[in-house]
């Protein structure tokens, strides 16, 4: 059952899925045929994905695809907002593997290809609220983090999940930046119950296509009730740990970026207010300012996780 407002309806909603899939296969065939006619490989950077829709959609209008793929915080590829798209080729995603480690019955190194075969993809439309007070609405494609993690049977000692981004300073110019205070590689983490929440998502695509490099290819986390920096990109390692992992921004400036980093309009960043946000793209004189919602509007899904916690202290 789809719960979407009419203006949110996509082609996928009004076309019977069987027809849609046939056409998709036909298009994939066409792309394949075109490819065989010696089209350079860069021409098809983002092949279409096979996925189903899901009930996770919002009433919000989608942020245009070119905005989503050109305005990124991915410091491995540069600190400017459009550096990541310019430097996207620095990220090498071929033969991607993910190491699963720590307190789980099943650990090891797994090929992303195999992971994708075992985890059917679905589309989820989520709001993304950056700690810098801008926001987007993005149609992600991917699969549930909880379902994925359960496949490795975490033990009772697994209290937190630690995620690590690719460390490849030879190619990723940001990781060579001598003026950066970040202790590479980028690390993020979730409490086990946060990771097991139904909203937590591993994205491998957006707008129905493979994730562009600048958006954290080939696989990234999406936790929509938290500030964007929690949604770590280009994951190479997932570890079940007993204690709260030291996460990158929290370690760098603990008074500015908490471990929890739940979207909270009542707790300001020391340098700006978090009570409103600018919904991108903004115009020159229309900044599209809207009020920020507690837990980014996902309170009904996640508020129980933080019962009895002082969210001004654990920000």
């Amino acid at each position: 059952m789809l719960i979407k407002s009419p203006q949110m309806l996509t082609e996928a909603d009004v076309t019977p899925e069987s027809v849609y899939r046939q056409r998709r296969r036909f298009m994939q065939g066409a792309v394949g045929a075109a490819l065989s006619m010696s089209v350079p490989t860069w021409a098809v950077q983002s092949p279409a994905l096979d996925y189903t829709t899901s009930r996770y959609g919002q009433d919000d209008t989608l942020t245009p695809e070119d905005v989503v793929t050109s305005y990124n915080n991915f410091y491995e590829l540069g600190t400017g907002k459009n550096d990541p798209v310019k430097n996207a080729a620095q990220l090498k995603t071929a033969n991607w593997k993910i190491e699963i480690a720590g307190h789980a019955e099943k650990t090891g190194v797994f090929h992303l290809e195999d992971i994708l075969k075992q985890n059917p993809q679905e589309e989820r439309i989520y709001r993304l609220r950056c700690v810098e007070a801008w926001s987007m609405v993005i149609p992600w494609v991917g699969f549930s983090l909880a379902k994925f993690l359960k496949q490795f049977s975490p033990t009772s000692k697994a209290k937190y999940v630690k995620f690590t981004t690719l460390y490849d300073p030879e190619n990723l110019s940001g990781q060579r930046n001598a003026f950066s205070t970040i202790d590479w590689p980028y690390v993020e983490g979730l409490r086990m119950d946060e990771a097991m929440n139904e909203l937590s998502f591993l994205a491998t695509g957006l707008y129905g296509k493979t994730l562009p490099n600048q958006n954290g290819a080939p696989i990234r986390l999406v936790v929509p009730w938290k500030y964007g920096f929690k949604s770590i990109k280009s994951i190479v390692k997932i570890e079940f740990v007993e204690t709260e992992p030291e996460t990158t921004w929290n370690k760098l400036a603990p008074h500015e970026y908490g471990f929890y980093a739940n979207v909270n309009p009542n707790v300001d960043h020391p340098r700006w207010s978090q009570s409103t946000e600018r919904r991108l793209p903004t115009g020159l004189f229309n900044i599209r300012k809207i009020p920020t919602q507690t837990f980014n509007g996902y309170a009904e899904y996640v508020h129980h996780l933080y019962k009895g916690m002082d969210l001004t202290k654990y920000y």
């Binding site: 070119d66 905005v67 050109s70 305005y71 410091y75 600190t79 907002k81 459009n82 801008w134 930046n177 003026f179 950066s180 205070t181 970040i182 760098l252 400036a253 300001d268 020391p270 340098r271 700006w272 207010s273 409103t276 600018r278 991108l280 793209p281 903004t282 115009g283 020159l284 004189f285 900044i287 300012k289």
Partner: protein, 195 residues
């Protein structure tokens, strides 16, 4: 010739702004200044303001150490720094805050980096006003004392930058090194000239 080059330098940000405006409004390249043009322009105008501030600050050491007298060009450089700083504040207030005065006042009182920037702008105001020859004559020796405010403005600009560093401190460091170098050259040359 130098005169012309300087005028061109001073108006080059305006030309760039005009070109960008053309790209967005007429050519239809809506993302020319990224998906958040307001933030882009705040940084753009701020960086040019700091650039002209440092150029203004460089005139005295250039004369004392380099023996090149560009004092005649200093006024327009200083006024340019002030003008771009005003534009910087205007872009922030209009394009980042949507002219929401309550947030603006909250920012001034609660956010030290904005307070430092604002203080720098306020300190530039009397210098910009008294930059004409008429005021120079009227104030006589006091004019020089008043324009020592430059040291405060440069220091505040440096603080304004460092307070915003998230993780890449290259710009803040570059400005600091240049500012310190220019300050050191002033005092060093004073000693040399006294010998």
């Amino acid at each position: 010739m130098l005169n012309l080059v300087l005028w061109f330098l001073i108006f080059s940000p305006v030309l760039l702004l005009g070109y960008g405006f053309f790209q967005i409004q007429i050519a239809g390249d809506l993302l020319y200044w990224t998906a958040e043009p307001g933030k882009y322009l705040v940084h753009f105008t701020g960086q040019w303001a700091v650039g002209f501030l440092l150029l203004t600050f460089a005139i005295t050491p250039l004369r004392k150490v380099g023996g090149i007298n560009w004092v005649g060009y200093r006024r327009r450089l200083g006024v340019s720094a002030f003008a771009y700083a005003v534009l910087h504040l205007a872009c922030y207030a209009v394009m980042m805050l949507g002219l929401d005065l309550a947030t603006l006042i909250e920012d001034f009182s609660k956010r030290p980096y904005i307070f430092a920037g604002m203080l720098a702008l306020v300190a530039m105001l009397p210098m910009a006003v008294t930059s004409t020859q008429g005021w120079q004559r009227r104030l006589k020796r006091k004019w020089k004392t008043l324009h020592k405010l430059m040291y405060a403005v440069v220091a505040l600009a440096v603080i304004h930058l460092w307070w915003q560093v998230r993780q890449d401190f290259s710009l803040a460091l570059m400005v600091t090194v240049i500012a310190l170098l220019l300050t050191a050259l002033r005092f060093k040359s004073v000693r040399i000239s006294r010998l």
